[in-house]
């Protein structure tokens, strides 16, 4: 690994895949937990650099990824007593030491939504377009949710943590079974479950599940609102089309929302598909629609997340997004009352899908071999025909 300040991203690629040593800790340096921290830290150390993944539901669910050019960098959380975060958002409650190395690398932060604002909308026209919604109900604010202790759901071998949240402001007890579940993971290669997203070692995957909310109308859909924080303020949206849908049947697109400046690039990547059953398969799949990046107004911005501690406020690049689930007549939220959506957040270039070797072998077997066989037959037939005279074509049976 050659550390290069001009293009630090080069170094990122393959960092975790090849020789990273990953350590996982829950609420690091916390002795007697009594607060709302719910923080998971993963440190992926390569020979010359480190990636820090910090996942927490403090305030609202947030995923933070920080790249440091030092292989000895360390995450420091300045808890107040009882493992609580300080009330002052601008305090440096979350830092990565040594700070000078963080500055050189494009420290990347991603918060998954300020609040993941959930709102249903009545969509009698069944177009699934958020902008055509007849009624947008008041959103479920994720900051009003209570989150279960993550230390019970952390899996140290697969580097996975699940945050399970319930709405605590529930006057009519309509939401007793309603929950939002976020499973964050750090997989290698390709995720074993649908939509089988590809990972390149500098990204983190999350899956959001919405279930049990009582629909407020006959034909409702759900949508999630979330934001990306980054130093890079140039926003672009990329659609990569492929002829191959081997890994995610029926889906031919990979979408990326990218924030960049001169020396850093961060992204959110997903496939336009969500699932309305826990056991994901083609029948349970439904399209999701994306409503592109806009700079949120100050009122929309979250007021407390772990990202605020890291940035001491809000960084330059902030983009807000919406994703709505379902477009057809058969995939209203009311049908199964369940939605699962998976995406990646990461640093550098988004993973690039390509046609697998298996496919090339199959293309050869399916098209190449028969083609050779046909060629051979034609040659043989031509030879044979030279020795043959006269025939009566079919249909001319005289």
């Amino acid at each position: 690994y050659q550390v290069s300040s001009e293009n630090p991203l080069l170094l990122l690629v393959g960092l975790c895949v090849q020789q990273a040593v990953i350590t996982l800790e829950v609420n690091p340096d916390c002795e007697n937990l009594s607060g709302n921290a719910n923080l998971v830290h993963l440190r992926a150390a390569g020979p010359h650099d480190t990636l820090h993944y910090v996942w927490s539901t403090y305030g609202v669910p947030t995923l933070l990824i920080i790249h440091s050019l030092s292989n000895e960098s360390k995450l420091v959380v300045n808890w107040t007593s009882g493992c609580k975060f300080p009330s002052n958002q601008t305090s440096e409650a979350i830092k990565v030491h040594p700070q000078k190395d963080v500055d050189i690398s494009m420290a990347f932060v991603l918060t998954k939504a300020r609040n993941i604002l959930l709102f249903e909308f009545d969509d009698a026209k069944t177009t699934g377009n958020l902008n055509n919604a007849t009624t947008v109900f008041p959103p479920y604010l994720l900051e009003d949710f209570v989150w279960d202790d993550v230390s019970h759901t952390v899996n140290r071998s697969t580097h996975t943590a699940t945050f399970h949240g319930h709405n605590k402001t529930d006057p009519g007890h309509l939401l007793q079974n309603a929950s939002v579940t976020i499973t964050v993971s750090l997989p290698y290669g390709r995720d074993p479950s649908l939509p089988h997203l590809l990972h390149n070692g500098n990204c983190s995957q999350f899956e959001v599940r919405i279930s049990g909310f009582i629909p407020r109308g006959n034909y409702t859909r759900f949508a999630l609102e979330f934001m990306l924080f980054s130093q890079g303020s140039n926003y672009s949206f990329e659609v990569k089309k492929s002829i191959d849908d081997e890994y995610t049947p029926t889906i031919f697109e990979v979408l990326s929302a990218i924030l960049r400046n001169e020396d850093s690039q961060t992204y959110l990547q997903w496939k336009p598909v969500s699932y309305n059953k826990l056991s994901k398969n083609r029948e349970a799949s439904m399209p999701c629609k994306y409503y592109g990046g806009s700079s949120p107004g100050p009122k929309q911005e979250p007021n407390r997340t772990i990202a605020h501690f890291f940035y001491q406020g809000v960084p330059n690049g902030v983009q807000a997004f919406n994703i709505s689930f379902g477009t057809g007549k058969e995939d209203f939220y009311n049908v199964t009352r369940f939605i699962s959506w998976t995406a990646l957040v990461g640093l550098g270039d988004p993973p690039l899908e390509s046609i697998s070797k298996l496919m090339f072998v199959l293309i050869f077997l399916c098209l190449g071999l028969p083609f050779l066989l046909v060629l051979l037959s034609i040659v043989l037939a031509l030879k044979h025909r030279q020795q043959r005279h006269g025939y009566i074509p079919i249909g001319e049976t005289h």
Binding site: I243, E246, L367, P370, V374, A381
Partner: protein, 476 residues
Amino acid sequence: MAHQKDQDLLIQQPGVDTENDANVDSEAEQLTGCGASALCDPRRKPHRFLVLILMCLLSFGSYFCYDIPAALQTQIMQDMKVNSVKFMQLYAWYSWPNVILCFLGGFLIDRVFGIRLGTIIFSCFVVVGQVLFSFGAFVNRYWLMEVARFVFGIGGESLAVAQNTYAVLWFKGRELNLVFGLQLSMARLGSTVNMNIMGPVYEAVGRFFGVEGYRRLGISFFIGGVTCLFSLACGLILGYLDKRAERILHRKSDDTVKVIKLSDVRYFPLTLWMVFMVCVFYYVAVFPFIGLGKVFFEEKFDFPPAHASAVNSIVYILSAPLAPIFGFIVDIVGKNVMWVLLSVGTTLGSHCLLAFTFLNPWVAMVIMGCSYSMLACSLWPIVAFVVESHQLGTAYGFMQSIQNLGLAVVSISSGAILDSSGYFMLELFFCACLCGTIAILTMYSKFSSSVCTSVPVTMSGQVRSVTCYRYHVNLY
């Protein structure tokens, strides 16, 4: 020799006017009255045309009623209170038994009933099936509707076998390809008319009879069943005309001598098996694809649902007008196997376009529609040149049986491939099927050899001698 035999037969024929007429061939029956006119004379084109119309209408009823559940799917699911899985059983009850029953039907036509009686019996099955189906709806018994679809299936598919056999008997050596093309258009027409008419019929029944729910459904089905009665009537007339033609043309000569045994299937020529394989491998690369195509066009090409349905159904729509046109061309040019090869090749091309490019799928699907029409009218007639006429029903029955089997198996496995590996893999699978078809076709010429056929059916009054003719088909 054959000539002599025909004269012998002529003498035995009761009620035959033996007076010679200068205008009529010496060995043929003299016709009087209407029989002498072109429309009634089985040796003349206009009469064959009449028979052709009857032959096409023969299956109109069964094709019409086959798709009645699809046309009234939501109404059936509402009125009978069934879910979509239960609903699909109506089609399963039709198709799965026919994996075997077609073959049996064809054999029975050859061995027991004969073509005329067979046609009428199977038409009756269709009528009885449709009546039971309507009755089942009328009395709100869903199980009866399922049984009825089974009965309907016994008739429907075997009727198609009978129709093919009729076509060969009357048109072999003439406009056979055109006739197969027309039969395909008729099938398409039947389902199209049904799709457009059953909804309004259901509405009208509600208005005029003032009934609701399953009774309304039952009455609508009864009305749809009228088409089956109409087809039965066509079958009866056709039977009469065929008997008459047989008497006038002394067609019986050879067929009575040879009787097919079930074991004869083992001695079907290799070329026939190759035709079967081509049939299976081609059809499984087209219909299961169309069955799963809508989502493909929506997802890969970003078509809105209505647009995706339109491009997905273009193959069916195109085949209605194109099949007879291509049939006509194949009749003129001959060389059926070459046309089949061409269709398979272009279908492969269209699948490759769909799999490997983002080219507007209208292009690929229109090509596929043309290829399918061409194949449908050029492949099926080949059977007539490969087997002897007393085995025709069995051969066609067998072909339809294994086609049904192939379609059923591949539809299921296509779904499995799609679930596990996506459309790209599925397209590769279809390409592999088509490449296999091409490989079989290129080998075809090496295995084809001359056979002695029985007397080709002639409607000209000029009975040919038993000929051994080569059906070597020019490929290159």
